[in-house]
């Protein structure tokens, strides 16, 4: 116990007592005036920051959800647009085909009609010709009868008539 009586390792009871008194005074002095407001303020700030972080997280999740919805909507719109375009193409194709078919049909009709008309015209021409021939023949016959021609003349006349007929034909 000699070592704590003097020198470096001396434990002075007076100093010990003063240390205890000083420290108690320090704690009591700073407890209400300094530490309490500081700790309260820091706690309040920590609480606020925690709340802010929570809110930010919530807002982020909300934004992500909205973004997902938006993306889905965009995708749907794109699909719809593609569908509309393909349907339009299909319809256009159909209309084109219909038009071509109609044109073909009407072209055929026109040629048919033209052929028929030509046929009719030809028939008419033939009937006309026949009538002409008949009238010509009657004319010739009447002329022959009128003139009483000789056989050579008659022959000449028939030939002439035949020639006429040939040219008409």
């Amino acid at each position: 116990m000699q070592v704590i009586q003097e020198g470096l390792l001396k434990v002075d009871p007076g100093l010990l007592l003063w240390t205890i008194i000083t420290f108690i005074v320090l704690v009591l002095l700073l407890w209400k005036t300094a530490w309490k407001p500081i700790v309260e303020a820091l706690d309040a700030r920590a609480e606020k920051i925690r709340g802010d972080i929570d809110n930010a997280e919530k807002a982020r999740q909300e934004a992500e959800k909205l973004f997902g919805q938006h993306k889905e909507m965009m995708d749907r719109a794109k699909d719809e647009a593609a569908q509309i375009i393909s349907k339009g193409k299909e319809e256009a194709e159909k209309v084109k085909n219909e038009i071509i078919e109609k044109a073909n049909v009407s072209g055929k009709e026109i040629t048919e009609r033209a052929k028929k008309e030509i046929e009719i015209a030809k028939e008419k021409a033939l009937t006309d010709l026949k009538n002409e021939i008949v009238s010509l023949s009657t004319d010739i016959a009447s002329k022959i009868v009128k003139k009483n021609l000789n056989s050579s003349d008659q022959k000449g006349l028939v030939e002439e008539a035949l020639k006429n007929m040939r040219t008409v034909q």
């Binding site: 390792l9 001396k10 434990v11 010990l16 320090l26 700073l30 530490w35 407001p37």
Partner: protein
């Protein structure tokens, strides 16, 4: 040389100094305060309060250099933290002042590293004032000791012992209040041991409980004293060798130790506070 080193590192009551006619006003005021303490307080009043404890040296309540340094630390704490409390309360969501933010980060350090790991959430608010006081009081004492002309109050067994007594009392008080009066018998011994081992383990744990604050006392004292001894001896080498070359090396060496001491001042304040928190926190629950 032993006398010089020990003279720097040991305590003396404040003694009167003569006021010289050439002193300027500041020196005269300081000497006036010194003489007020030395003559009016020490010699007239405090010398009469004798403390005689067997085993310890006889003493009285005279104010010594070390007591004065303790008071300087208290004054610094009060001057820094009382206005700081008001400033932090005013700017609830963070001050722009660097001064406020510096202290705030240190208080945050005490909160996050010392109190929070060792106490339940609901007791943090109650524990913070005590451990902040311990940390900053020891820190200021340590740092004041590095100012030339001042002395390290924490480099004394009586001071560190006085602080460790609070840790011991805290351990006992928290144990008794939180776990009931039987804590001292059942609370400190681990559960699930055979009954016949109980008395032996109880004795070991009880001694361990008392050794913890003793270790705190010696650790802080030894760390703060050792650095000062090295600094003084480095500088004393100049007087021993009376050589400029030794002077260069000595000053460089003592400067290095001085910077190391700056680090040690923080580390030891942290260690004292964190171990106190650990000891007191561990008597919250049975283990």
């Amino acid at each position: 040389m032993y006398g010089i080193v020990v003279g720097h590192l040991t305590d003396h009551p404040i003694a009167p100094v003569a006021v010289l006619p050439g002193d300027n006003i500041v020196i005269r005021q300081l000497k006036g305060i010194n003489n007020f303490i030395a003559i009016d307080l020490n010699e007239r009043i405090l010398k009469n309060y004798q403390i005689n404890i067997s085993g310890l040296p006889n003493s009285d309540l005279r104010i010594t250099r070390w007591v004065l340094m303790l008071w300087v630390s208290v004054l610094m704490s009060a001057l820094i933290f009382i206005p700081l409390g008001r400033m932090i309360k005013k700017d609830r969501y963070g001050s722009k002042s660097r001064w406020v933010n510096m202290w705030e980060s240190l208080i945050g350090f005490v909160h996050d590293e010392i109190v929070e790991p060792n106490f339940d959430h609901k007791y943090i608010k109650t524990a913070m004032p005590y451990f902040s006081s311990v940390f900053f009081f020891i820190l200021f004492c340590n740092l004041m000791g590095l100012v030339p002309g001042a002395s390290t109050a924490t480099g004394n067994l009586a001071v560190t012992g006085g602080l460790a007594i609070f840790t011991l009392l805290g351990m006992f008080a928290v144990g008794f209040v939180k776990q009931g009066p039987l804590w001292i018998v059942t609370g400190i011994v681990p559960h699930g041991i055979p009954v016949f081992l109980f008395p032996m383990l109880w004795a070991i744990e009880l001694v361990g409980l008392l050794i913890k604050p003793f270790a705190l006392t010696v650790r802080l004292f030894a760390n703060m004293t050792a650095g000062h001894i090295v600094i003084i001896i480095f500088l004393y080498l100049i007087m021993m060798f009376e050589s400029y070359f030794v002077g260069i090396a000595s000053v460089a060496g003592s400067l290095m130790i001085f910077l190391l001491e700056l680090l040690v001042a923080f580390i030891q304040a942290y260690i004292f506070a964190v171990l106190s928190a650990m000891f007191i926190g561990s008597s919250m629950h049975a283990h």
